[in-house]
Amino acid sequence: MVLAVVERDGRGSLSAASGEVLGTARELAERLGVAVAAVAVGEAGDLPDDLAKQGVGRLHLLAHELLDGGGPARLGEALAGLVATLAPAAVLGADEPGVTDAMAWAATMVGAPLATACTEVRPGDDAWEVTRERSGGILLEDAVLAGPVRFCTLRPGGPAPSETAAAAEVTVDVVVPELDTTLPHATLVERRERSAGMSLATAPVVVAGGRGVGSAGGYAVLEELAGLVGGVVGCSRVATNNGWRPHSDQVGLTGTRISPDLYVACGISGATQHWVGCMNARSILAVNTDPEAPMVTRATWAVIGDVHTVLPAVVAEIRERSRRR
């Protein structure tokens, strides 16, 4: 069996990332000639219906009061218990912090390896092969995964989930895990919603500035341009480290990875750790004094020049055209 860790989205349906996990799980299961089962925590929501469309016949629902807000340790322990009972060939989950942390805990409990950030999982007789992202995805690593159970988390972009005709009846199996209540554990004590608005991760346009912007005040024109094009401001780590921008604006390996329609990179050289954060942008416009800067040579469009003269001119041109219309 291949066990897929799935989650509900805000509306109670199968999350997009979980859908992709099921796509890979089904491919794997077909090659191994075994079934796919899903595991989730808490309420079933729309999961049984959504799983049926994916041809998955069984859902294990972990139910225990300690799982709500119990963090990765509790979920990991519950998952390890299920793995011990079901003995799956592999456990797959989305490459997201909550899932990865729980899978790391579970893998440790059952003495198995965990390959995170996988783009491919290839089963073999004994040792399996995986391809995983390293250094934020600029490098790929082919690795051998040997163990009694293979735990893998999957990067987005795997085989697209297709609805199969084999809309099986989904058996929901409520599992009350045995949790070690003597284990000291962290507790969720508060949950606050943040003000909704356009975020760096989801904005269609990101206007980002790096060392070339030169000062905190220099971002005013980036803010202005971002406002005119319906986007938000981002930055490089140099800007964060200098205290010009908050870390929540940072694009890159240790900041946010984004995939906007347009990325405007102003005075940013394009170091790999920055590049992995913006390489999935649909298009890139670089503004840089150096025509050889990696960001320039990798961009869709470039303007060679000083951000302090180019950006004000662009803003003026946009304003001028809207006046003329």
Binding site: D101, L145, D261, I304
Partner: protein, 247 residues
Amino acid sequence: MCVKRVPAVGAEILLTADGLAVDTRHLGFTIGPHEECAVEEAVRIAERTGGSAGVLTVGAPETEEQLRYAMSMGADHAVRVDAAAADGDPEATAAAITGALRDLPPYDLVLFGAASADAGHAQVGLRVACALRRPVVGGVKGIDPGPGHVSLRREVGGGVEVHEAPLPAVVTVLEGLNLPRYPTIKGRLRAKKAPIRVLPAAPPAGGLRTRRLRHRPEARAETIVLGRGAEAAPAVVDVLADLGVVR
């Protein structure tokens, strides 16, 4: 806090001929940004509470460079767990750290980066917490220690969560937790002479073995240069109009 020596790669990454590692002949080394924040936070907490901050790494003697860097930021003492390479498989690294933490005087708080900057296995901290049966919270952006417990803030989707854990606890942190300081000259001098404790380790190999590193096939764009300086503005706005982001 646990830190890992990683190559400070630039805009291109060269690989060794056997494809097993990054070619570091012309590179410097560093610790990841998440870990830099872990060091900064540990030093601040130690200063505030009158405690002490220790730094630990797993690797060969050259990894002491990163321990000394952490000490120049204010860490009080350092431990190197001896291993052939810093970039071992995550099960082996976690076992080496777990073994060392069992031998060392107890720590109230053990900080990890959420992921190492090169391998990014995103699991060593969790594995250590599990092996030591310690409470753990991952991906933390705020740490507020109190008597016997610690309050931890993390950002999720559209919200913020606060967790509370009894001490001793394990925490994996994210960059943005604080703004790390630059080491002072005095700090550097002190760190240069500070002793480093070396512990042996012989953890069994784990089940993940690197066969080869390779570059991601990249769709190379032919860059269209729209112009130089302010004169490029009309061409830029034409592009923005074509994209439909301005009218």
